[in-house]
Amino acid sequence: MDRSSLSSRSVQWAFLALAAGAWYLATATGSVSRLFLPPPREVFTALVALVQTNAFWSAVLVTASTVAKAYVLALIIGILAGYLVSRSKLAVATIEPVISGLFTIPITLFFPMFILFFGVGTGSKVAYGATYAFFPIALNTIAAFANMEQRYLLAAQSMGGNRWQIFRYVLMPGALPVLFTGLRIGFFICLASVLGGETISSVAGVGRNIALTAELMEPGRMFAWISFVVCMSVVLNLLAFSFENRIRAR
């Protein structure tokens, strides 16, 4: 590690220490209401108590399985639809603007319709998460396969590559980085929208518990849930980035 990256690391640690110190001071001096920001110690003990309960793990399981179902759905439909559209220039020019135009509207608007169609159970969250994740996955699949350099395809054809070989050795390796970006964005949008759906209207899951502890005015437990979500998402982000870098490096 050279000197400049060492000093920027120290700024980052200083920022973290500053945030933690501000949190501690604000709660210790009582300048912030305990309801809005409980002391760090209270959050920590609440988190420790929380992970030992069965209710915690069943809520995590509900959310995880909802995200998994929604993501797999979005993955299959998004990649399939994106690939089919990408096979024709006319289809790309016709359909891609519709998908990307819809994606600039918050899909959250349609959440009440999902509740109406699928009820307040996990079904509505699966459908909502899958719908939201479909867009980045389909758009990136289209971008990945439609913007392929024609030269490579022509070269592969002229050297006698059959359809499968062209797909396997030219299309796939070329498309993979862009495709994977879509899969990563899709996953985190899926996660956020399932959490959001649970928070707005549901009967179980992590999002529901955050909303519930807020309604019951239990800041310690609410912050315990929030810190769990924050830690999980940071870990998942780091995993996704290192995985993506490995794919790019190949």
Binding site: I95, T104, A143, T181, I189, I200, V229
Partner: protein, 282 residues
Amino acid sequence: MASLSSATSTPAASSTPIWSRLARSPFWLRIALIAAILLLLEYYGRFHADPAFMRPPSAVVEAFFTSVISEPKIVSALWLCITEISIAYGMSVVFGVAIGLIVGATKFSRAALFPIILLLFAIPQVSFMPLVILIFGLGPAAKIAFGFSHGIFPIIVNVVAGMRDVKELHLRGARSMGASKADIIRHVILPNMVPSLFTGLRLGMTLTLLGVILAELYVSTGGVGYYTRVFAENYNPAPLFALITSLAVIAIFFNEIVRIAENTLTPGKRRAPRIQSKSVQK
């Protein structure tokens, strides 16, 4: 539409029959696709769907006039929503650009602070939504705060990225011709930042809309969220769809303002396309 005019004005195309020309124009195909979907929904909604869950588009249009626009309370809730989006977006732009300029100013501040911004951007903010409501109450302040906290991040990120991606050649060229630090910022770094800035402004608008709508739906004791809940719980889909469609039109309107501003303010010939397939969200 550029695609339309190019399809009709080419001399080669004028000899072919109009049908085959239309079938090759993406614009008209898109219109046909949307019309076909609407017709299908109309047919299904009219003859097959359970009226407690789905109504045909014609009934939704009717409900827009009979139970959305004619209800002063719903209209004022929609206006409040527009106000919240405007304020939240205005704050996102001002603070996002300011923070972006500070973070992007030097190599060191970028290396030290940009990872923190990216990390904060990666956290699903919905997990803080009940807390935001707890702090700011059930009124418009919470929705503005939540829209602001969503909208500011893509703007910061894209301002920093725009300042970072200045070509070393341009910097060296300006320096060798005796440009001062202020000259370089004014004439090299800022113009270079413009396209990226507008990408940020566009994503910022999308996320501001998301934040405001999320908070509106979560707080179901007043505002738009209350009415969506009432309509959904009474199995009254026509006004529900009409209300949602009105909000979607508001969202499209806000997005269009940003796009038009981008087209008129971006120097040079490069026009922002209607679609940005590669600058997908986040």
